[in-house]
Amino acid sequence: MISPNRETNTVVDHFFRHQWGRVVSHLTAKFGVPHLTLVEDAVQEALAKAMQTWSFNGIPENAAGWITRVAHNQVIDALRRKQNFDKKSKELTTANGESSYTMDWDMEEEIKDDELKMMFACCHPALSAELQIILTLKILGGFSNAEVARQLLKKEDAIAKAYTRGKKKLVDEQIALEVPFGKHLTQRLSKVLRILYLLFNEGYSVTTGDMLIKASLCDEAIRLNKLILDCKRLVKPEAHALLALMYLQSSRFPARINADGQLVTLEHQNRSLWDQHLILLGKEHLELSAAFGHMSDYYIQASMARIHCEAERYQDTSWSQLLMLYDIQLHLNDSPVVFLNRVVAYGKVHGAEAAFKELTDYPKIKTLEKYPLRYAVEAELLSENGDYARAIEKLDQALALNSNAAEVAFMKEKRLRWEQRLRK
C-alpha cells in the first residue's frame, strides 16, 4: 500500500531545472540538433510525468535516470509517429531503439560532456550575444519564455520568436555539438565565460527584475562554470577566476537587501550575514587561478571582491590595495565605468578633494554625462567635504537619470539626510 512518501519533499533544489539542461543536451547530442525541439517536448513531458507520479509515489532511487529514460522513450515514440513522413528518423529509431538503451551511473561523464558541448554550441560566435544568452537560459537553464522575458525586459512572444530563430540558426549554420580543440579552444572558452559572466551580472545587478529569478541566474552561472572546471582540458585561469568572482559576490547576497526590501550598500551591510563558506570557496578558486600566473579581468574583479570580503568593517577596507587593482584594471580596460569606481577608491586614499579633481580632470568626462553613477560619486565626494548644497544638486542629477526603484529610494533617503545637515 502506498503511503505519502517523505522523500517527495526532499529532492534537491533546482533538481528539475538541472535535469532539464542535462537531459536536453544528452538527447540532442544523441538524436541530432535538428530534433532539438522534439527533444525539448519529450523532456517537458518526462518532467510533467515525474511531477505527477512522484508526488504520489515518492522519488525513485535513480531519479535522474528515470527522467532520462522516460524522455528518451518519448523521443523514440515521437520519431516513430513521424516515420511515415520522414525516412531518416526511421533509421535513427532503429539505431537507437529502446532495447539498446540503458541508463546507469556510468553515463554521468557522458552527460556532463554533452552539457558542455551544448554550452559551446549556445555560445557559438555565429549567434548574436542576445541569442547566446537566450539559448543558454532556455536550453541549459530550463527557463520559461516568461522568466527570460521578465529578466531581459522583453515581451514573452519576442523571446519565443528569438528562441525559435536561435534554434533554427543552430541547425542552419550546422553548429556542431562539440567542445573545440586546439587553437580555437581558448577563444571559444572565453566566449562561453563571457556569457556566464553576463548571466551572473544580470542576476547580481539590482536594476531590474524579480529577485527570485535573479538568484537563480546566479546559481545557473555558477553551476555551468563548475561544469567547465570539471573538464580537465577546460581548466584555465580565467575559468577559476570567474568562479572565484561569482562566489565572492554571491557571499554578500544575504546582506544586500534589508527586511523592507531596500538596497543596503557595502558600507552599511551587516557583514556577519556574509556567507563565509562562499568566501572560502571564492578564495580557493582565486588562488587556483593565480597559480597559472595569468591576470585576467575576472581575476582583478575577484581580487577586489576578496578585499571587501576580508575587511571586518567597512573602515577596515584596504583602499590602497583596491586602488592598485583599479589602476591595473584601468590599464587593461580604459573604460569610464572603471574610472568612476577608481575615483571612489582614490578618494578613500587621497581624500575627497583630490578625488573630485581627479574626476573633473578626466579627459573622457563627457562620456559620463548620462551616467547616474558619475553624479552620485560627485555628490558623495562633495558631501564628504561638507558641501551639502552642491552635493544635493549633483544627487538630483543622478536621480533624474536613474530608474531603478531600490537605488532611487536609497538616494532620496540620502538627500533627506543631507538637507537636514544643511539646515543645521
Partner: protein, 115 residues
C-alpha cells in the same frame, strides 16, 4: 470515520508552459499536502493515472483509444482519505495544490461494504 475518494481532474500543468523549476515547486507542494494528510491520519491511499487509455463498449465491439476528454476533464489520479463526513472530506481537499493550476477535485463517498 468514512472513506472518501478524491478524483483529480486537470491541473497537471501540461497545458501551461511551466518551467522545470515551477514543476518541481508544484510537485513539492503536492508532497507537502499529502504528507499533511498522512500526519493527521486522513490519508489512506492514492495513485496517479496515465493520460492515455481505452474505452471499451459492448463487450469490446467498440474500443476507443483515449484521451477521451479534454485536458482539464481527464482524471489524472485519485486519492482515498478518511473523513467524518462529506463536508469534512471536501474541507480537507481545500489546500490541494491542484487548484493552483486550474484543476478540480471531485469528492465522493465510498460505499461501505457493511451497509
Amino acid at each position: 470515520m468514512k472513506e472518501y475518494m478524491y478524483l483529480f481532474r486537470g491541473g497537471d500543468g501540461r497545458e501551461l508552459d511551466l518551467s522545470p523549476e515551477q514543476m518541481q515547486e508544484h510537485m513539492q507542494a503536492w508532497g507537502v499536502w499529502m504528507q499533511g494528510l498522512g500526519k493527521t491520519g486522513n490519508f489512506v491511499t492514492g495513485l496517479p493515472l496515465q493520460s492515455e487509455g481505452k474505452v471499451v463498449e459492448n463487450h469490446g465491439e467498440v474500443i476507443t483509444d483515449g484521451p477521451f476528454a479534454e485536458g482539464k476533464e481527464i482524471v489524472g489520479g485519485y486519492l482515498i482519505v478518511k473523513a467524518k463526513n462529506l463536508d469534512h472530506a471536501a474541507e480537507l481537499s481545500k489546500e490541494c495544490p491542484i487548484f493552483l493550476r486550474g484543476g478540480t477535485v471531485e469528492v465522493r463517498e465510498i460505499m461501505p461494504m457493511d451497509m
